[in-house]
């Protein structure tokens, strides 16, 4: 069996007997959140409030996909920070670009 240990510098996760239950729970959460998205689309008039709700729901979905499906919940804090901190900067950049777009809007059409 010694040949099977290609990378002895880390420990493999042990099989988790609860994993399957967790996966299906996450599936139903993602399914439900998408249905909620659609319900909000048809029952809340379009506007900033609705957009903010959609973005928040998107972030919650991202938490479940990255956390459970990509197994991030069980990884070391160092790798969590390495992946998540840059994404916070991305969100800041997207917000900034929206202001830039709004400025262009005023420039063109006002």
């Amino acid at each position: 069996m010694s040949s099977s240990v290609d990378f002895p510098e880390f420990e493999r996760h042990a099989p988790d007997p609860e994993a399957k239950k967790d996966i299906w729970k996450t599936f139903w959460i993602l399914f439900g959140l998408t249905v909620v998205d659609l319900a909000f689309y048809f029952y809340i008039p379009s506007g900033m409030t609705r957009n903010v709700i959609f973005i928040l729901l998107g972030i919650i979905k991202a938490y479940f996909i990255v956390g459970t499906f990509m197994h991030m919940k069980h990884e070391k804090t160092a790798i969590m920070l390495m992946i998540i901190v840059p994404v916070i900067f991305i969100m800041a950049l997207i917000t900034t670009a929206l202001y830039e777009g709004y400025y262009l809007f005023n420039l063109h059409w006002k």
């Binding site: 010694s2 240990v5 510098e9 420990e11 996760h13 459970t68 063109h108």
Partner: protein, 257 residues
């Protein structure tokens, strides 16, 4: 299997001689690749957000009853097309189209107003293929070759189904007259960004399907059984979930907002 290896691990996490992330090299590199890929998609989203906000907002047309019969010509009043030769009247602003009026088709139900129904189906297909992928990874932890292969088949089928849906969606949009320089629904930038963002995502799905097929053939050959672990399934799994994650945001920003 790993008891011998574990006993050799230095106890200090950052003292050298072991992975401080406690991850296999290839998996760590996959995470870093996914982060860089997230930057690429963010670039597209940033371009999309600022372009969209530089145009007047779409109006909400929820007054059209769901499922009612409506022809493309009747919808034209809601759009300000930008095609060369079709000048806008003075004072008219080319507003960003409402997604529910552009994407309101469903196969075999032509002419009915069914906004977002098809794209929701695509979303569910992709979420479900993500679930089968993670079930394959879970079976890999138990070294259960047959179950890994079974769920990999389902994942590949989901990927192909998603790509077929996207091909249909593109065909609808293109036959309606949209391309990279014309857009009968509003600003040309709407069509440009649609094709670039969904096309780039679709290309990722295609690459994912190819990777999944390669990995499945290795699973069937017994490569990973011999190796003693199914880490490669986990690595393509990470990529596949990332593709699903990107779709969540494409769905949110392109179709919902």
């Amino acid at each position: 299997m790993s008891h011998e290896a574990e006993s050799k691990l230095p106890t200090k996490l950052w003292g050298g001689g072991r992975s401080p992330f406690n991850l296999e090299y290839g998996k760590l590199m996959m995470w870093i690749f996914l982060l860089s890929d997230a930057f690429t998609f963010s670039g597209l989203l940033i371009a999309y957000g600022s372009t969209r906000y530089s145009f007047p907002a779409a109006e909400n047309h929820a007054s059209i009853p769901f499922g009612s019969h409506i022809e493309m010509e009747e919808l034209h009043q809601y759009f300000t097309p930008s095609t060369p030769g079709a000048e806008l009247a003075p004072g008219v602003q080319p507003h960003w189209p409402s997604p529910e009026l552009v994407f309101n088709h469903f196969p075999f139900l032509h002419g009915h107003h069914l906004p977002l129904l098809f794209v929701s189906l695509m979303t569910f297909i992709l979420i479900f293929s993500s679930v089968t992928m993670v079930l394959a990874v879970e079976a890999g932890h138990r070294n259960d070759r047959k179950t890994v292969a079974k769920f990999m088949y389902w994942t590949i089928a989901g990927g192909i189904a998603f790509l077929s849906c996207q091909a249909w969606e593109w065909t609808q949009f293109i036959t309606a007259g949209a391309n990279l320089k014309d857009n009968p629904f509003g600003p040309v930038a709407f069509a440009d960004l649609f094709f670039i963002v969904t096309g780039f995502h679709g290309f990722h799905v295609l690459s994912g399907v190819v990777l999944n097929i390669v990995i499945t053939s290795n699973v069937l050959k017994g490569t990973y059984e011999k190796r003693g672990h199914y880490d490669m399934v986990e690595k393509v799994g990470l990529y596949w979930h990332f593709v699903d994650l990107v779709w969540v945001f494409v769905f949110t920003f392109y179709y919902l907002i």
